[in-house]
């Protein structure tokens, strides 16, 4: 009985000692958990197999934001269609932008493909640049460092723990990066087609060159006219393959593949987007072995 009582008293205390950090996407959750270790819990809002641009703003997500001590998001307008109303409804000052417990990761990365002219006739473009920056493993290290600094800033007494966790992660990650570079070394200069340019940073890191997308413009679904153009482009340029995300239908890609004979390769964009991808290392293991 006494044991149960102490347990009951101690339980809420241990919960209090924890920082509950809400994050928008699974990769941020994994990174935060790696750096934060046992001192934090993470609550991931979006599912890894969903299109990161289109997350259904389920009311349960409001409850998750409401109960968080801090919020880390990807930024660069990736969450613009779903996160603002959740923050607005949660009534939690700790998750409001421009507070010390709010972190926008995109502010710490140099974004590529920033459009020189912003006009929706060019599709649903991201004015700040391509937001899928976490698919370059070098950026993962930068982000881990930013998250470490962020955790220290909101929980300074545990600085040593966060620094140690970061150092451990950084060491392992750098070793892995060497392996991935070796695996990808013969892929340099390879031409690829994508559905949407969400592998821009991955391609840049490993020297792949994206020559076209199946969607005619960002956010605009495939049209038959554009598909014919893409087929002509493939016949002329001879890319190796179509790198396809897991959330769009592969219908058009399969059709193009059938007409041109090039393969469709599924490329996961985040943890949990395919089975067996349950951490950041396995995501890059998969990505760097997908192109045969």
């Amino acid at each position: 009985m006494k044991k149960l009582l102490t347990l009951l008293i101690l339980l809420p205390l241990t919960l209090l000692a924890h920082l509950n950090i809400a994050v928008s996407y699974p990769y941020i959750g994994a990174l935060t958990k790696t750096v934060g270790g046992e001192h934090i819990t993470t609550t991931v809002l979006a599912k890894g197999n969903w299109d990161p641009h289109f997350i259904i703003p389920r009311p349960s997500l409001i409850a998750k934001v409401r109960n968080a001590d801090a919020l880390i998001m990807n930024g660069a307008q990736l969450e613009i269609g779903w996160l603002p109303p959740l923050i607005n409804r949660a009534g939690n000052p700790k998750t409001s932008p421009n507070t010390p417990t709010f972190l926008n990761l995109s502010h710490h990365i140099e974004l590529i493909n920033k459009p020189s002219e912003v006009d929706r006739k060019d599709g649903d473009i991201h004015p700040d640049g391509n937001p899928h920056f976490h698919l370059n493993p070098e950026n993962i290290l930068i982000l881990a460092n930013v998250i470490k600094e962020f955790l220290i800033s909101i929980d300074t007494p545990d600085r040593a723990i966060y620094e140690k966790n970061y150092a451990d992660f950084s060491k392992i990650w750098k070793e892995k990066m060497v392996l991935w570079s070796q695996k990808m070394s013969d892929k340099k200069g390879l031409k690829v087609i994508q559905f949407h340019d969400n592998l821009a940073y991955f391609n840049k890191a490993y020297g792949l060159s994206n020559i076209g997308t199946i969607e005619p413009l960002p956010g605009i679904p495939p049209s038959s006219r554009h598909t014919i153009k893409t087929i002509e482009l493939i016949q002329k340029e001879q890319p190796c393959c179509i790198l396809h995300d897991v959330y769009h239908s592969t219908k058009t890609a399969d059709f193009i593949s059938q007409k041109t004979g090039i393969k469709v390769v599924l490329m996961p964009h985040d943890i949990e987007s395919l089975e067996n991808i349950d951490n950041l290392a396995s995501l890059f293991d998969y990505l760097t072995s997908a192109i045969k």
């Binding site: 289109f54 409850a63 613009i80 607005n88 599709g123």
Partner: protein, 422 residues
């Protein structure tokens, strides 16, 4: 000493840039503070089986009239959405929003139409209190029920569900007032809210004096006179989200039809409105989903009905008690980013009216069937075709008029990216 001064000046020049800014850049530029702006156009082409002149005179017996077409109130012309056969410009909605300071944000929603400008919403919100509380003040759509808070252009059909429009009019509960909402610290979503509102809904709630002030038909009451409360909860089971809510509104009621050409009348009394809503959304993937949405509304109007002659003299003032309820239920299938389609069933289930304790017979089977299909060229442009068969309308001779309506609706938006609420 001189050396130090010189070198420090040099350093400062290096840090701040040695060049002087060109003349045209030496301004008090405030452009970075421009709020988020968007403009939404809603236009339609309507083909209705009754003529426009006739449509304006149709009524839902014992519940409401003037639901279709346009009609005059004294000097002002008041048109409902999709009022005319042929082309309609329903509105251009201008939305402005920005944070005010670390404590508040402000949102303004203005409807520009051919009849002028209406302030749909203009309110400030604060999240700064913490503990899951949010406060709002100004003019806003009440969070009563599920649909009431949403703007017309986010609805799944071109018109409002019958029970909403009949009880509350095309703007729903849209009032000046204050709101407080509290989200509970639970692992699932649980929210309770309370609103104090002025109470100026022309279809159901009101507090104005009817008739002249010296010798009124019904005396007014100073606001605020409308109180709204609700509880909402949501739970996820895998890829299925359930959301349910219970709402209650209570207030003074004045309904002023003293200027009507035929059968001028007025009502004064108390009004109560009960609402229950239930939404199930099942996501098949990132874009494909199935959504079932049902709301039940019940109202009670208890007071005095004033029958008037053409000079607004009271010719009868029986006690009246109205107990009415109805529901709508709709199913929407979203196929992909381009295509959506859906059906809706509307009905008034109960229409009990007692005058001086005696039941007044009312027609039954007041229902409506609607189907729609939408094509989106992008997130910013939507084209919809909607067909409806309305069995709820009666003409001035008390005869049922079955109305078939086809609406082609275009909804186009520019500017800031709209984020979607559930």
């Amino acid at each position: 000493m001189k050396k130090i001064l010189l070198s420090s000046t040099l350093c400062a020049a290096l840090v701040y840039g040695a060049e002087v800014l060109p003349v045209e850049k030496r301004t008090f530029d405030q452009s970075k503070f421009i709020p988020d702006i968007s403009l939404i156009l809603d236009a339609s082409y309507v083909d209705r089986s009754v003529k426009d002149d006739e449509a304006g005179h149709l009524e839902l017996p014992g519940v409401a009239h003037g639901l279709l077409g346009s009609h005059s109130h004294g000097d002002s012309n008041h048109a409902t959405y999709n009022a005319n056969n042929g082309f309609n410009l329903n509105y251009a909605e201008l939305v402005l929003s920005s944070s005010v300071d670390p404590f508040f944000t402000m949102d303004g929603v203005f409807h520009f139409s051919e009849n002028g400008v209406e302030i749909e919403e203009l309110f400030f919100t604060s999240n700064a209190l913490g503990y899951g509380t949010r406060i709002k003040g100004g003019k806003f759509n009440s969070n009563f029920g599920y649909l009431n808070e949403q703007h017309h252009h986010t609805w799944d059909f071109a018109d409002m569900p019958l029970v909403y429009e009949a009880f509350l009019g095309m703007h729903g509960i849209n009032e000046n007032g204050a709101q407080i909402q509290w989200t509970a610290p639970t692992p699932f979503y649980l929210m309770a809210g309370f609103e104090v509102l002025q109470g100026e809904n022309e279809q159901m709630f009101g507090n104005e004096t009817i008739g002249d002030v010296e010798n009124p038909i019904a005396e007014g009451k100073d606001g605020p006179t409308l109180y709204v409360g609700y509880v909402k909860a949501s739970y996820d089971i895998g890829n299925t989200t359930l959301l349910g809510g219970l709402s209650y509104a209570q207030g003074e009621s004045r309904i002023n039809h003293s200027a009507d050409e035929e059968n001028p009348h007025a009502f004064s009394g108390d009004a109560k409105l009960y609402g229950a809503d239930f939404v199930v959304l099942h996501a098949l993937d990132s874009y494909k989903s199935l959504k079932l949405q049902t709301e039940y509304l019940a109202r009670e109007l208890d007071g005095t009905q004033y029958a008037l002659d053409s000079d607004a003299n009271v010719i009868g003032s029986p006690a009246i008690l109205k107990k009415q309820d109805g529901l709508y239920s709709q199913l929407i299938y979203t196929h992909d980013k381009n295509w959506r389609m859906g059906v809706r069933y509307d009905t008034i289930l109960r229409n009990d009216i007692k005058t001086n304790g005696a039941t007044v017979e009312q027609p039954s089977n007041l229902d409506k069937y609607t189907a729609m299909i939408e094509y989106h060229t992008s997130e910013f442009a939507r084209f919809r075709v909607q067909y409806s068969r309305d069995n709820s309308m009666f003409n001035e001779n008390g005869q049922r008029e079955k109305i078939d309506t086809i609406i082609f609706q275009a909804n186009i938006s520019i500017g800031a990216h709209a984020a979607h609420s559930f």
